[in-house]
C-alpha cells in the first residue's frame, strides 16, 4: 500500500495539520452540540427546567450560531478528511482487535458527521429526502458524534499533545500519516522500485509513471495555501449565508435559505396557513379561551383590543437558523393570567387552531408567562396580524424558538400540578 500512500502524499497531510484543523472542527462540533442541546431542551424541557428570558435575542443568537457553526463544518470536515485520508490505506489494514475497534469507531465518526451536517443543512432548506425522522435522528446522532469525538481525542491524545504547539522539530517516531514514508522509498520513482526501470508497462504502470512524473508540491506554499483555502472557504460559506440571521451581513446574503424582509408584513414564516390547514372558515367565530382550575374566560378580538396594549420589539427566531426582528403589539400574557387568578409560578399550555403538527400544543414556563415582554400579539409591524403570522392572535415571547411562538392561538390553559 506504500504506493497508494506515497501518491497521496502532500505537504498539507501531516499530523500537525490534522491537529490544527481537528481543533477547529472539534470546537465547531462542541458549539453545535451545546446550542443544539439548548434548543432541544427549550422545546422538550425536563420537569422543573427554567430558562433565561434575557437577553431577548438569546435564542436568535444560540440558534443562529448553531447553523453558522454547522455550515462552517462543511469546509472544516472536508479539510480534516483530506488531511487524514492516507490513513484509510494504513498497512496492515488491521493490526489487532483494538485497532479494528479504533478503525470502526472512526468510520462511524466520519459517516455520522457527514450525515449530521448534511441533514442539518437540508433541514434549513425544508427538504427531507431521507427515510427517517429528522429531529429524532439529528438529536441521537449528536450524542453519537460527541461520544465519537471524545473517543477519538482519547485515542489520538499522544499525537494531539505532541503536535499541539507549532515547533520546528516534533521529535522522532512521527510515524503517522504519509509524510513518514521512509526517505529511501521516496528517493527512487515508484516505477523504478516496482520494475527496476521507469519504463511504463500496462495500465497500472502507465498510471504510476504518470503520477511519478507529477511535480511535487512546494512544501511551505502548499501548507499555507491549504490553510488559506480552508480559512477563505469557511469565511465564504458563513459570510454568504449568515445574513439570514445576522443583520449586518444581510446585504451579502447570497445563499441563505431565508432573506430578511421576505414574507407577509416583512417577516418570513416557517409554516403557512395553508400547510397548517387554517382557513377563514376555521377562524370564524374565534375567541381566545383562558382557563385556570375551574375559571374559564373567553375573549373576542375586539375585547382583547380594548385591554391595555403593549408594544415590544422581539425577534422571530426559527430552529432553522433564520431570524427577523419585528414590532409586535398586543395584550400582556400575565394580564390574562391574572384575570383567571393564576399564580406567579403557574405554567401554561398553549393550543393552536391548527389540527395537526408537532407544535399544535406547547407548554410555557412561568418565567415566560410573567415576563412583561410576553404578549398575545394582535398586530405586527403596525398592521393587523396577517393570517400567515397567526391571525387572530399569536404568542410572542423573548428568547424562545419560533415553533413555540404559537400562531392561531386558541386556548391558554393553566397547568395545575
Amino acid at each position: 500500500m506504500y504506493e497508494a500512500q506515497r501518491s497521496l502524499a502532500s505537504p498539507a497531510r501531516n499530523p500537525r495539520m490534522a491537529t490544527v484543523i481537528g481543533r477547529l472542527l472539534g470546537a465547531a462540533f462542541l458549539v453545535c452540540f451545546g446550542t443544539g442541546l439548548y434548543s432541544h431542551f427549550l422545546q422538550q424541557p425536563l420537569p422543573g427546567m427554567r430558562f433565561p428570558t434575557r437577553p431577548e435575542f438569546l435564542y436568535q443568537f444560540t440558534e443562529g450560531t448553531h447553523i453558522i457553526a454547522g455550515i462552517a463544518c462543511f469546509p472544516l470536515l472536508l479539510a480534516k478528511l483530506y488531511v487524514v485520508f492516507p490513513d484509510l490505506f494504513a498497512y496492515p489494514p488491521v493490526r489487532s482487535f483494538v485497532h479494528l475497534l479504533e478503525r470502526a469507531s472512526i468510520a462511524l465518526f466520519v459517516g455520522a458527521s457527514l450525515v449530521q451536517i448534511t441533514i442539518g443543512l437540508l433541514n434549513t432548506y425544508q427538504w427531507y429526502p431521507w427515510p427517517f425522522p429528522f429531529r429524532q435522528v439529528h438529536f441521537a446522532l449528536a450524542w453519537v458524534l460527541i461520544g465519537s469525538l471524545a473517543l477519538h481525542i482519547g485515542i489520538k491524545l499522544p499525537i494531539i499533545a505532541r503536535f499541539w504547539r507549532k515547533r520546528t522539530d516534533y521529535g522522532p517516531g512521527t510515524d503517522h500519516l504519509t509524510d513518514a514514508v521512509p526517505a529511501e522509498r521516496v528517493a527512487g520513482t515508484e516505477a523504478e522500485r516496482l520494475w527496476g526501470s521507469s519504463r511504463s508497462t500496462g495500465l497500472t504502470g502507465r498510471l504510476i509513471a504518470y503520477l511519478d512524473a507529477t511535480p511535487p508540491a512546494a512544501e511551505k506554499v502548499s501548507r499555507r495555501g491549504f490553510l488559506a483555502t480552508v480559512g477563505v472557504a469557511v469565511a465564504a460559506v458563513v459570510g454568504l449565508t449568515a445574513g439570514q440571521t445576522f443583520a449586518p451581513l444581510d446585504a451579502v446574503n447570497a445563499f441563505g435559505p431565508r432573506k430578511k424582509g421576505v414574507g407577509q408584513q416583512g417577516v418570513p414564516v416557517n409554516r403557512t396557513s395553508k400547510q397548517a390547514n387554517v382557513t377563514e372558515a376555521v377562524i370564524a367565530g374565534w375567541v381566545l379561551t383562558v382557563t385556570h382550575g375551574g375559571v374559564e374566560r373567553s375573549f373576542t378580538r375586539p375585547e382583547l383590543e380594548r385591554m391595555p396594549q403593549t408594544e415590544v420589539t422581539l425577534p422571530i427566531a426559527c430552529v432553522e437558523g433564520w431570524s427577523q426582528m419585528a414590532a409586535w403589539r398586543g395584550v400582556r400574557l400575565r394580564d390574562l393570567a391574572d384575570l383567571v387568578g393564576a399564580g406567579a409560578d403557574t405554567s401554561f399550555k398553549l393550543v393552536s387552531l391548527e389540527e395537526r403538527g408537532s407544535f399544535r400544543q406547547t407548554q410555557m414556563g412561568p418565567e415566560y408567562v410573567r415576563d412583561p415582554l410576553t404578549l398575545v400579539a394582535l398586530e405586527l409591524n403596525g398592521e393587523t396580524l396577517d393570517l400567515e403570522h397567526g391571525y387572530p392572535a399569536r404568542m410572542i415571547a423573548p428568547g424562545r424558538p419560533g415553533v413555540l411562538q404559537t400562531k392561531w392561538l386558541s386556548r391558554i390553559e393553566a397547568i395545575t400540578a
Binding site: G111, Q126, V137, V144, A150, A254
Partner: protein
C-alpha cells in the same frame, strides 16, 4: 487546592506525555466517549421506529462511500492534473488556482442541493423559504472567484518571473 493543581499539571499533555496523567486522561476520554456513543444508540432506538433504523445505517454507510470513493479520488486526480498542467508555474500560482477551485466546489456542494430543494421539499408551498435566485448567485460567485484567482495568479506569476530574471540559473 493542592490536589486540583496536581491534576491540572498531570493533564498537561507535554509534561505527561509518557506518564500516568496521559493514561488517565485517555482512559477518561475513551470511557466518556463510549458512554456518549451508548447513550446516542439508546436515544436512537428509543425515539426512532425500528423499521426506520436501516435507513439511518444506509445513509451513514453511503456518506462514507460518497466521500472515500467519489469526492476524495476527484480531489486527488484534480490535484495531480493541476500540478502537471502547472509544472512550469510557480508553486504559489498553483496553490492559488487549487484554492479557487476547491472554494468554488465547496460552495457548489452546498448550493446545488438548495437549488434542487426549491422544487422538491416544502419550499414550493412556502414562498418565504428559499426565495433567492441561487443559480444566478452561484454563477456570479464562480465568476468572482475566477476573476480574483486570475488576478492573484497573474500578480504572483509576474513577481516570480521578475525574481527569475534577477537570479538567472
Amino acid at each position: 487546592m493542592n490536589q486540583v493543581s496536581t491534576a491540572s499539571v498531570a493533564l498537561t499533555p507535554e509534561r505527561a506525555a509518557p506518564g500516568r496523567g496521559m493514561r488517565v486522561a485517555r482512559a477518561t476520554l475513551v470511557l466518556l466517549g463510549a458512554a456518549g456513543l451508548a447513550w446516542g444508540a439508546w436515544v436512537m432506538v428509543d425515539t426512532v421506529r425500528i423499521a426506520r433504523l436501516p435507513g439511518v445505517a444506509l445513509w451513514v454507510g453511503a456518506a462514507i462511500l460518497v466521500h472515500d470513493a467519489v469526492i476524495a479520488p476527484l480531489v486527488f486526480f484534480g490535484g495531480v492534473l493541476l500540478r502537471r498542467a502547472g509544472r512550469r508555474l510557480a508553486g504559489t500560482v498553483v496553490a492559488v488556482l487549487q484554492g479557487a477551485i476547491v472554494l468554488g466546489s465547496i460552495m457548489t456542494l452546498i448550493v446545488v442541493p438548495e437549488i434542487v430543494a426549491q422544487t422538491q421539499g416544502r419550499a414550493p408551498e412556502n414562498p418565504t423559504v428559499l426565495p433567492l435566485d441561487y443559480g444566478t448567485n452561484l454563477a456570479v460567485f464562480w465568476v468572482v472567484i475566477a476573476v480574483l484567482g486570475t488576478a492573484a495568479s497573474a500578480a504572483l506569476y509576474a513577481r516570480a518571473s521578475r525574481a527569475g530574471r534577477r537570479r538567472p540559473l
